[in-house]
Symmetry: C2
Subunit: 334 residues, 2 copies
């Protein structure tokens, strides 16, 4: 696989317009065809009507990749750290997928050219698949598309999938929460520790990475985080977040980050927590899809005649809104 | 009916804990028992499980009252105007209900004692029913409870129901939108005209009342509003909002407000718009109840075993989230 930026229709297929073409596309992705992977993610990202068929074809490969979330404020060094982490994981022999769902990411266009070029380190590596995600044209946005995109990369044989987000909004926190292991990046003197608490990021952090650790104030930042961790309530069987220092721009501390990820992975497996997290994510996904379907059905009823017929009967006093709502739901079920 | 502030259990009933007690309670309310009316509104306000039975018993009386919404910023004179309007409507022989869903209302505790006392003018009048609404303990809040409370007052024989809200938030706009005729109150020099546009209140106003019209700047305010009305796009068969001046504290202009309400009522009937508004409101009510039921069902599944069983199957690769969502919905329908 390579970092093909633009999706290309799978060669030889009729541009995948029918559900029966999906298994072949997934087969190609599994065989390492980067264009098939790109095409699948594009379909997922656009909320294509083929989504159920794609999900069905990918189902057998669920849970095979380690999903690592990486979040933090803009300027904290996320893309540099991601880049170096990819290098370290490749050195360990892993196949790596990167999903950048970060408006400030070099892949989505917000960062400086230097970063963009640096990430090209991996552009010719067939063991790395890099993809930016945007929320265009998709109801529910990134939070809806990202879990399926992770499944595509899993299906394509990635051992590790890095999901890079900006830790500033609820949507990003949700995206980060789909990870087995979540890294929260901070930098000295950015007041990030307090911001992290406010944004609810403390709750989702498994590993804190204090990047730019060659700067003044790094000890104070590490102390702040350790103070927050100490204050956090945690049962005896719970994971205690790790704190790691790095200078990603010089490649320092990256092995420590990788070790912390491995350690957390081991803890997840040992405590049965990995399966619990995977199941919690699956439950959230199922619920979101079910609610989306129900909303769409109610929307179609509004456009149709059922709801207006019932409303007319309520307005003329022939029935009441609760009975009418029950009738509407009975019609939905048909 | 009188302005009983506190709900009292209907005398002689077993405090209405069963659906079969509801028809008797509604019968009492229709006979003019203020305690029965108060009890019904309390049940509605608390989102009681008897709601469907109450709605069913009230259904035959739908659309019998003229519902008049009255909204505007705090300090614009809403309660004084409501008070004077009640007086004028009583003089015309109407039975009047007032629902104050306004945090700054004298009935919900935000205003000065003078207002509170003034509104007591009608406390001993059996042709007036006054009730404050709060959103406590009710999922969906006032927007959910108010339509049913209007139905209670309708069922109790009110010819006119005044719904007083503060025009500052989306919820208040929604409450106001349940009226046949919506009055928007403004005062000179409060910059309300622009605020009204921002808050989307312009779209819901059938009558603009410029209160405190003895103040400086009243002509400019009236001009601003007329300018906005002229700019608003409106088809040939559409209602053109009226502008009325009043000094409610001196009882001036109240007859003009009543006349504008009557004129709008006549227009609604003549154009078939009254039934259209009643049906649109019924449709919104049905849809809200249906969605609430679906959410509750999904919530109960989350607590139950169905969702977690499906999630476990997705996590182990035995099925995909779309198929699982379909199965969940099929279980909901059972």
């Amino acid at each position: 696989m390579s970092g093909a930026a633009e999706p290309v229709p799978a060669a030889g297929s009729t541009s995948v317009r029918r559900s029966r073409d999906v298994p072949l596309l997934v087969e190609r992705a599994r065989a390492g065809d980067p264009r098939a992977v790109a095409r699948l993610i594009t379909l997922v990202e656009n909320g294509d009507e083929l989504l159920p068929a794609i999900a069905a074809a990918l189902a057998p490969y669920a849970g095979q990749a380690q999903v690592v979330g990486l979040t933090g404020s803009p300027g904290v060094g996320k893309s540099t750290t991601t880049n170096e982490l990819v290098r370290a994981l490749r050195a360990q022999g892993h196949r790596v997928g990167v999903l950048a769902v970060d408006p400030s990411s070099p892949f989505t266009g917000g960062a400086i050219l230097g970063d963009r070029v640096r990430m090209q380190d991996h552009a010719t590596d067939p063991g790395v698949y890099i993809r930016s995600m945007s929320s265009r044209g998709h109801l529910g946005g990134l939070a809806a598309a990202t879990p399926q995109a992770v499944r595509v990369l899993e299906g394509a044989g990635c051992d590790v999938v890095l999901v890079e987000t900006v830790g500033v909004g609820q949507a990003e926190v949700e995206v980060a929460s789909l990870a087995d292991t979540t890294l929260v990046l901070l930098a000295p003197g950015m007041g990030d520790a307090i911001q992290a608490v406010k944004a609810g990021i403390l709750e989702i952090a498994d590993v804190f990475v204090v990047n730019k650790a060659d700067r003044d104030g790094v000890d104070a930042t590490v102390r702040d985080i350790q103070g927050m961790i100490a204050l956090g309530e945690r049962g005896p069987g719970q994971w205690r977040p790790q704190v790691v220092r790095s200078v990603a721009a010089r490649g320092e501390g990256i092995d420590d980050i990788a070790a912390a990820i491995d350690k957390h992975r081991g803890w997840l497996v040992e405590h049965g927590e990995l399966r619990r997290r995977q199941e919690a994510r699956a439950a959230a996904e199922i619920e979101a899809i079910a609610l989306g379907t129900l909303r769409a059905r109610i929307g179609s009823l509004r456009d149709g005649t059922q709801l207006s017929t019932l409303a007319a009967r309520v307005a003329e006093g022939a029935t009441d809104p609760y009975t009418a709502a029950d009738e509407l739901l009975a019609q939905l079920a048909r």
